[in-house]
């Protein structure tokens, strides 16, 4: 493999990994607050469809991104209503949200199938502009890509260095203790879900408005599930998620290079790399008693009154 093809893999991994990282960052916040969102696939689809529809209507991709975020937030709040207010089972509620997202996104996106949009503009960072054209064109990204790394650090700072993040983690570890120390677990979980939904919306916006630039049903292609796997892979840590997102996407991007160099590995098997890696990580860390999983992950908060 030449240096150029390695950079090519990196570039395409960055392109496809961005949406994955945003989504996983959102899910990290959800899960740190103790809520598993299995409906992420549905959330992504609804955000992508709404963002795309608004972009077609207004011609403004940034407005589309904003609407996608709002849609993601709303979908997550819907999950919140079920699992926080109505105390429903998290896994079942997540799957119900997933089916809801399948349907709602098809309904929203149906009139916009085959429409074209002004995608998010791509530009070069001034530092890279001095590189030879062949390299520079590989690293000509849109705003969402440039923002994804700062966002990962922001989420890390938010979770580990602010009072709010402390509250989120406290609720995720032990709701009763968090309640006893004067926090409101329900409110914190709603806030975490909203934040997670906004981030998932950003991920979906990147898929629809910057990467694929069109709308088709089920276009997110399982990214919601990969993001859930990624959160586990990175053991609920926003910074480790950066590495994971690159690794997962590189596995897929590698297919093209391997095909060119004549090595035939079935793309289907490469597609399962993220899940296999995650399971291996789980096995490797499973024996360790100090697991990073939030202790009350998936548990219904029945109230401490």
């Amino acid at each position: 493999m030449t240096g150029l093809s390695i950079l090519g893999v990196l570039s395409s991994a960055i392109f496809s990994g961005t949406s994955l990282l945003y989504t996983a960052l959102g899910e990290t916040i959800d899960e740190r607050a103790g809520i598993v969102n299995l409906g992420l696939e549905g959330v992504l689809l609804v955000s992508a469809a709404s963002g795309f529809a608004v972009t077609v209507r207004t011609g403004n991709p940034y407005l589309g991104v904003l609407i996608a975020m709002l849609a993601g937030g709303l979908m997550n709040l819907l999950l919140g209503f079920l699992v926080i207010t109505r105390k429903a089972n998290q896994l079942a509620s997540g799957l119900a949200v997933m089916f809801f997202g399948f349907g709602l996104s098809a309904l929203i996106g149906n009139p916009y199938v085959g429409k074209s949009i002004h995608a998010l503009p791509r530009f070069e960072l001034p530092v890279l502009a001095s590189l030879p054209q062949v390299y520079a064109s590989l690293f000509k990204f849109d705003l969402l890509i440039y923002l994804v790394l700062p966002m990962a650090f922001f989420v890390w700072w938010l979770l580990f260095h602010t009072r709010w993040g402390l509250g989120v983690r406290a609720v995720g570890e032990n709701t009763d203790t968090a309640f006893a120390s004067g926090r409101n677990p329900r409110r914190i979980r709603y806030q975490a879900l909203l934040a997670g939904g906004l981030l998932a919306g950003l991920g979906a916006a990147h898929i629809a408005i910057a990467y694929a630039m069109n709308w088709t049903e089920y276009m997110t292609g399982g990214r919601g599930f990969i993001a859930v796997a990624l959160v586990i892979f990175s053991r609920w840590h926003p910074l480790r998620a950066i590495v994971g997102a690159l690794l997962f996407s590189a596995a897929v991007a590698l297919q093209l290079v391997l095909q060119n160099s004549g090595i035939s590995i079935s793309p289907f098997l490469l597609d399962s790399v993220p899940y296999i890696l995650t399971i291996l990580v789980l096995i490797a860390w499973g024996g360790n008693r100090r697991q990073a999983a939030p202790a009350s992950l998936g548990r219904v908060y029945q109230g401490s009154e």
Binding site: L38, F81, L82, R86, A88, N89, L91, A92, S93, L95, A96, V97, M98, F99, F100, F102, G103, L104, S105, A106, L107, N110, E217, G222, F225, I226, V228, A229, I232, S266, F268, L269, D271, S272, Y275, I276, T278, I279, L282, I283, G286, G287, G298
Partner: protein
């Protein structure tokens, strides 16, 4: 579930419990249909006409009813596949993957032994389907039994891998000369027999027999009793000499085997071939159905029937109302939301 009963009985109305239960379900279903009606209205469709279409196309004719049974066959089985492990507090979110692998192994049987007569081939395929599902469930079960990784996460992560293996097998080896995404039609001996000249296959009978068997097993067998003990308090039952690890592995794999059988039934009965990405989420629907009725065998029967009415009716809605098929997922989801959110049904509440 107990919460609902308390909530309903808190209304202090002297109705028998079964009547309250029925009223509650009627109320919840009506609520979800009302919500979906609003969505139809917003998108400019006539909700009343749409509902008339849904019901007349499903419950209004014997053909419609038979199509409901066709849709019900896989989800009845996957519902059971989730319910069995749930009895010893194991959460099987992996029915979707187990179904795929079951279908793959059964297909291998159909393609390899295609000269055998039906009376030999069908049981071989059933066995292979069950082995496939059980194999796919084995790793999560084993990791759980040695206390390493939670079975919920592993069985979930195995789901997306299974269709990719099917893709690998079909594209790489099994595809027919005409298509790259499906196998050639199975020979007639590899097809599950249909009943009464409809598209209903004997697969539905597998579901019903397993359901009754499951109920009898849990209620009257020694193993059922031990499983109930594990479900009650696993550590106490382990100290009383019940082999907990063996139960975890066997019961979880048995659940996987039932899901694998569902895959075999769909490949052999419904499609008559193996298609990549053929499941429309039957495994996940099974999970939802099981949770909604708390794993109760007869609840699974009723709930899978209800979900099938929605799925089948949606098919027609797509044709007559020009809506995308997947919006039937909305009606499905709304029904689930309403059941999950458990609205309290109160009539004539005092104060």
């Amino acid at each position: 579930m107990t919460q609902n009963i308390e909530a309903v009985s808190a209304t202090k109305i002297a109705l028998p419990r079964w009547m309250k239960d029925i009223l509650r379900y009627v109320y919840m279903i009506a609520l979800s249909f009302l919500l979906f009606g609003l969505i139809l209205l917003v998108t400019g469709k006539d909700p009343i006409q749409s509902y008339r279409d849904i019901f007349s196309s499903t419950l209004g004719s014997s053909y419609g009813l038979s199509e409901v049974i066709v849709a019900m066959t896989p989800i009845l089985l996957t519902g059971l596949a989730v319910s069995l492990p749930s009895r010893i507090m194991l959460i099987n979110v992996g029915a979707e993957g187990q179904l795929y692998i079951g279908a793959a192994l059964a297909t291998w049987g159909a393609l390899t032994f295609n000269t055998l007569p039906a009376w030999a081939l069908i049981p071989i395929m059933m066995l292979l389907g069950m082995v496939g599902g059980a194999l796919w469930a084995f790793i999560p079960a084993y990791l759980k039994s040695i206390g390493l990784v939670n079975e919920t996460i592993t069985s979930l992560l195995f789901n997306p891998v299974a269709p990719k293996i099917i893709g690998f097998l079909v594209f790489g080896f099994w595809h027919s000369p005409m298509d790259t995404n499906k196998t050639a039609r199975f020979v007639e001996a590899a097809r599950l027999p249909a009943l009464f000249g409809t598209r209903v296959t004997v697969g539905i009978l597998f579901g019903v027999v397993l359901l009754v068997g499951f109920w009898l097993f849990m209620r009257f067998s020694r193993w059922g009793l031990e499983m109930r003990a594990i479900g009650g308090n696993s550590q106490a039952s382990r100290r009383n000499g019940i082999p907990l690890k063996a139960y975890i592995i066997i019961v979880f794999c048995a659940g996987g085997a039932i899901a694998g059988l569902a895959g075999m039934v769909q490949a052999s009965g419904y499609y008559g071939l193996l298609l990549t990405n053929f499941s429309i989420g039957w495994g996940f629907m099974g999970f939802l159905i099981c949770w909604l009725v708390a794993g109760d065998p007869f609840g699974i029967l009723i709930m899978s029937f209800l979900v099938s009415v929605i799925l089948t009716g949606g098919n027609l809605l797509q044709i007559t109302r020009g809506v995308p098929y997947s919006i039937i997922n909305i009606l499905l989801a709304l029904t689930l939301f309403v059941v999950l959110a458990r609205p309290t049904f109160t009539i004539g509440r005092k104060s």
